[in-house]
Symmetry: none
Subunit: 182 residues, 2 copies
């Protein structure tokens, strides 16, 4: 594989969820980026070595490994890599850690491509990218989150409700209602 000599900016995406990588990758490509994806810390490092991407989106939990260690090594390889940590298991402690390790931002999933790009570019010197002007509605955000957790629980509503620490009945009602509205 060739490296990032391309004029297009290069982004490395590392997440163990392959579907997620694919979708996000396409979204970035559609916005004019060169994209590589990896699903393990080691692969991520390998790709980074080859391509020297200037941006990286890394999941906090890559399989059983920590995205933070990957972030640290990416920065060790190239101080200028702009990394954002993205995760469905966000916590303040890891956010603090991520920033200390040099990540430019830390986002909780769900986050859309524009949002991630905005974070990647935020505070970047020259081409100040305007950040998205239409953040997700709370309703929408909630819906995405519920769907995601539900999927993780193999569509077991009771289990999902427990994980989300919400009443099963409430989850049920939210799931039943949502398809209609935005």
């Amino acid at each position: 594989m060739s490296d990032c000599e391309d004029s297009r900016p290069c982004i490395l995406i590392v997440d163990d969820d392959e579907v997620f990588c694919a979708v996000l990758g396409d979204a970035f490509r559609a916005r004019g980026y060169q994209v590589v994806t990896a699903h393990t810390v080691d692969d991520g490092l390998r790709e980074a070595q080859k391509l020297e991407p200037e941006y990286a989106v890394v999941d906090l939990r890559i399989g059983r490994e920590s995205g933070l260690t990957l972030a640290e090594r990416l920065r060790a390889m190239d101080e200028n890599t702009r990394i954002v940590i993205l995760t469905g298991y966000a916590s303040i402690a890891t956010a603090v850690e991520a920033i200390k390790l040099g990540a430019v931002h830390y986002l909780a999933k769900p986050a859309d491509a524009d949002e991630i790009l905005a974070s990647l570019h935020k505070d970047e010197g020259d081409p100040s990218i305007p950040l998205a002007d239409t953040p997700l509605t709370v309703r929408r955000l909630e819906w995405e989150h519920l769907q995601k957790v539900l999927a993780e629980c193999d569509n077991n509503i009771s289990a999902a409700a427990r994980k989300l620490r919400m009443h099963r009945r409430t989850l049920q009602r939210k799931l039943a209602k949502r398809p209609a509205r935005d």
Copy 2:
């Protein structure tokens, strides 16, 4: 008032809750620190100028002002001041900000004196240690989202409410509540 020539390390505590300051201050003194407290950003700066404390514990919301601006100025005065932000309204968005501004840590109240001291002394990133295993609660996710959008709107509540397409009153109420202790 004399300055920190004392052999004991000097800590500045800034929080608009006077009772909290007093209690925390006593706890620190009992542990051999010299302590000064302040309840406004300006007072905090004044004390800092006089005493040049090597540590500072600052609340995120000092009355109507932001502890982050105070933190920023404290660091501008003395790069070596080790600051931890302490707050009952913790969010990832503000945590990220705080660390970027140079705080050494960011803690959610309630936090006991020992915990705070440990944070003040703790050094460079240990990338591996923490990792959550449960997804965020819907409530928590909402809180984080609100905080993020709010930050994007420079803390303009009305603007954030418009962006989120929710009633300003509702946003106000949600922000007034503390993030759930989940």
